[in-house]
Amino acid sequence: MRSFFLILLVALLVDFNVRGQQPSPEPQATFNSATISGLGARNIGSAAMSGRVSAIAGTKESSGKITLFVGAASGGVWKSDDGGTRYRPVFDEQAVQSIGAIAIDPKNTKNIWVGTGESWTRNSVSIGDGVYRSTDTGESWTHVGLEKSERVARIVVSPRNSDTVFAAVPGALWSDSPDRGLYRTTDGGKTWSLTLKGPNLSTGCTDVAIDPSKPDNMFACMWDFRRKGWEYRSGGDGPEKPSASGLFRSADGGNTWTEVTPEANKGFPKKPYGRLAIAIAPSNAKRVYCVVESPDSALFVSDDGGATWDKRDKSNWMVWRPFYFANLIVDPKNPDRVFKTDGALIMSMDAGKSFAVVGGFQGSHGDVHDVWMDPTNPQTVFSGDDGGMWYSYNGGSKWWKGENLPVSQFYHVSVDEEDPYRVYGGLQDNSSWVGETQYPNGITNHQWENMYGGDGFWMFPDPADRDCIYAEYQGGEIARVNRRTHEGRNIKPRPNYKEKLRYNWNAPIALSPNEKGTIYVGAQFLFRSRDHGQNWERISPDLTTNDPEKQKQEQSGGVTVDNSSAEMHTTIYSISESPKDKNVIWVGTDDGNLQITRDSGKSWNNVVGTLPDLPKNSWVSWVQASNFEAGTVYATFDRHTFGDMAPYLYKTTDYGKTWTPIVTGKDAKGIRGYAHVIREDVMQPNLLFLGTEFGFFVSIDAGKSWAQFKGNHFPAVAVRDMVIQGRENDLVIATHGRGIWIVDDITPWRALTSDVMSQEVAFVSARPTQQRIQGNGGWANGDAAFVGDTLPDAALITYYQKSRHLFGKLKLEVLDSSGQVVDELPASKRPGLNRVTWSMRAKPPRVPPAAQVAFNGVRGPRLVPGVYTVRLTKNGEATETKLTIGLDRRAKFSEADRKAQFDAAMKVRALFDEESALMDRILFLRGALAKTGSALSESESLKKTVSDFDGKVDAVRKQIVATKEGGAITGEERLREHTDQLYGALLSYEGKPGDYHLAYIEALKRELADASNEFAGLVAKDLPALNDTLKAKGQPTISPPPEKVAVNDATANFAGGGGITGQNDPDGPAAKITLPADFRILH
């Protein structure tokens, strides 16, 4: 019966939502970031795997305090004031989040310089927009130029002058550009001049070093490089091909430069070069280290300031992947000790003659990009790699893992149907993970589990088998992973005889929305399996251009071959089966084909030629079949690999015959960044979500206008994927640099219409509220761990305001079905959508005063499910809406059971009230007795008579409440404490109470009656006798206490309070609802 009711309820609610999906007319009211961002978003991380750190800078004060700045490859700048215990993101308000370099002014450590745009130029690298300066230790930033630099590899502040700063700008990765080289400012960033320029439009600067003792002496490394979608070169087009890379010296502070050559500088290697890195030993400027990528890559060391060189180490980790690891860090005190970053972190103690592996792949994650050493104690070594931050206190030998940087770089995300649902996704160099979306007391790193290996990309729970997950690593290495045994069966489709399958680095996996268990994988052919990968059908011909010029990855890399599948091209990149017709499948390729089949793969049609104004070979970054019409599809195109950073979004409604450009380079509609993903809402066809390299954008009018989402400080981070959890109406966002974010219940976005937005204030519809079961969980994590926000244990109330409310009370009340106000809530004031939480609780009991707070009595019982009214009063005008509250769908009890629990709790609340009323009378009488007693002299026997009577009255008080004060664990339990324990037991489970609970209510009532009778006896018999004595002695008599003593209403209804732990058992389970022992009013 209950189930039937629930189904009916759900059906009604769904029906309500469906009817709510009428296409909204074009909004006339202002639609912007403020309109949508009030829904907020919660970041669930994770910092378990963290993400790529590209740069580190730090200072140490004489007090020992270490301030660190960590630059994330695509997640902004993070500042720690305590050597890495806690971090705060301090770059969230800026326009880009990719960090290339951080420098601290040696003369004034308040001056921080940040170069944006990472220089570790892997295929997935982001872009920057120039140089930023802070003069207040990173708390606020000013953009100071070089906006066309795209990426900055190193910034060095002159040790002589805080306003003289050099920026090593490698520049644009994907295209020619004159905006590259070594730049210098002498006025603190107001103006910049190019002091060292490459001879062509692909050569920039990657490193610069200044002699700290003679700042006129400098070195700079120039780098000739280029990446395309299908190939890469560090240096020239091959190991021996000409390259403009080189090492340069200046003896006049960068005014003039001389190239270091083997002819002029004995021992320096022959050209051509790829990427170089340079470092001068801080403690001995004659000692210079330079790692040179060349056909004979090695470390070169000079002991005469760069005049002559000696070839040293050329071990694997010295020369591996120079484009990703060219960085040398010399000990601040010992010129012979030098670190070289690479796949592993290696360290030399003998000036580069030999190296030992000290980090990466052992202890720490690996793929190290930067190292910072404590200048006063170089045994303290911090490193940043593809897995975040690592901390060594024994010279770099052993490592602590940083657990507090949620800069994780997800490529994709999916969700399951569990309750609460979980998220799934793969990350750059960080495998594929499953995470919880709700957990008591927050989502810690422990709520995330690694399920595979390698770099992670697409990941899905198998909808036909709850035990299994599909995950992959680079190049289409797809596996079916058993989440319980962690067995990962490789099910990658294999080639035919003498055939090569081309799988993208980020090879697409797609689930059929129509058939549970049907899965697609794309190489250049589309494969389909209907039996969990036991068998695959090849359901397409080669859908790509199959351009042989874009298939020369074995020659890719430039000086050093680098064929990791990162440049694999002419591949399928996006797959989407229409939810409305399983025979309609769309495929987008990285080389610009957009293919459709309408017969389940029997025949294919490339429709890309019908897209207006789309340049040829544009990478199809996403194709998304509509949830509403079989002929409708959205496609995004990403042209950043051609140097075009504009977003492109198109739509067809006729299976690709004609297309509407929604967003293009010519008409970007306020959207910044190349487009990664388009999603259409599952309920409201006009509601579109676009993820770009610079953030998350929403349209409520089918793409005519867009607004950037900034809820909860959501930064301009790359959004690579999004998914809607249909049951919860949540939007889950995969960022490439800041982990997973959840916008809980996007129903209000569906409800935004021009009518709503034209009103001063209006409620908007939301999903039905559940009273979620309240669990306990989590444990002390320390301060050095990230904890993601979980779903609030509350009803979400959402309303729209045209403008910020500033004057007068914005009053938000909740009324029950009888029209009685049951709570007043703090209203949110912002313009646009606002969201407020309501705990759904009745007023707490009035608890008789005692030695300590009654822990459980701090809360009222949660009100029963039903329909409540929410009333918002603004400027004297009230607006109302209904709030429907139901049980947790997981609850094993009925609404009748829930009502029984509530009634029992209310009975105990009433018992508390009765105890309080009796206590009021006792205290009233004792007050009168104290007054009478104080008027009598010590010698009078009457004083003792009064005191004796007071002792009898107080004895009754001590039956009701614990009275031993002082804060100790007294173990004292009286009627009030027993009532509180029973109240807590009843609140701990919202189903039907046990008979023993109900029986105990009666027992406690009897105990209260006993005390009450005893007190009544004292009032009826002893007090008149005392009054007779008083009267006989000529003293004023004492009035009996009234049946109901007036109390201070202002505070009587505030129970609450700091039960801290289970007060009588501090070692017992941690209380879920507490005030901390050091509860403070925050100011």
Binding site: L806, P826, I1073, A1077
Partner: protein, 251 residues
């Protein structure tokens, strides 16, 4: 009592003028502070407000716990905040010299002296006018940092560095020039502590606009301490003794 209609119409007029704000030169600190003072009711009204008492409620733990709230401030720099539960009152107070507190919820009701670092927040709270008014006299420095999005409002951002080095970022509504957010950064026990406080629901009390809604917590915290003020009284008689550390006889 102020007229709500008047305020709304003034705000609307200012909103229209703000459309063109981008073309204007950047405001100076002095201009913004002057507008802030004027928006609050003017320097004279501010000076005339010698004491104020707020009464309302505080919500913590997502509103599951509600506490009665009373705060009393008196010039030149005294404050006493109280929250009450089950008849027990926690106190935090500062008398211009010493910060102290009573934390009774676990059974110990003796007053305790607060550390100098813990007192810093009370010293700031004691300011009836906020950090911008008379900033020079207080020994602070103020810098204008342009505008920044504060939950949908492009607010003027001012950085106040106090004499002790602690920082408050003050965000002013671009139309009304009243505070809508304050972010404080203090060093307490050697560690930096950041608290973001959103304020609103301004009401005019004794000629001065004061916020009746205060929400404080870490930046971006979805579960902040929230205070709803029901009543504020200006220039009430306040005995200085309530701010002082209680002596044994006064306990």
């Amino acid at each position: 009592m102020y007229s709500r209609l008047t305020i709304v119409s003034i705000a609307s007029a200012l909103a229209v003028s703000a459309v063109c704000a981008q073309d204007k030169p950047q405001p100076t600190v002095d201009e913004l502070v002057a507008k802030n003072v004027a928006a609050k009711g003017g320097a004279d009204a501010l000076r005339a407000l010698q004491s104020v008492r707020f009464t309302g409620k505080m919500l913590v733990n997502e509103g599951q716990i509600q506490l009665a709230y009373v705060e009393t401030k008196k010039r030149p720099g005294e404050v006493r905040s109280e929250v009450t539960l089950q008849g027990m009152t926690a106190i935090q107070a500062y008398d211009s010299q010493q910060g102290w507190k009573v934390s009774p919820f676990q059974g110990r009701k003796d007053p305790e002296k607060m550390s100098a670092d813990d007192t810093k927040s009370l010293m700031e709270e004691a300011e009836i006018d906020g950090p911008l008014v008379d900033w020079k006299a207080k020994g602070s420095t103020v810098e204008y940092l342009g505008t920044e999005d504060v939950d949908g409002t492009l607010a003027h951002k001012l950085k106040v560095v106090r004499k002790n080095g602690d920082v408050t970022f003050v965000y002013l509504d671009p139309d009304a020039f009243l505070e809508i957010r304050k972010t404080t950064q203090r060093v307490e026990q050697g560690a930096q502590v950041e608290v973001e406080t959103d304020v609103g629901d301004y009401e005019k009390i004794a000629g001065v606009f004061l916020p009746f809604s205060i929400e404080s917590g870490r930046k971006g915290d979805p579960d902040k301490q929230k205070i709803i003020i029901d009543k504020a009284e200006g220039n009430i008689p306040v005995d200085d003794a309530i701010f002082r550390f209680p002596t044994a006889s006064a306990k």
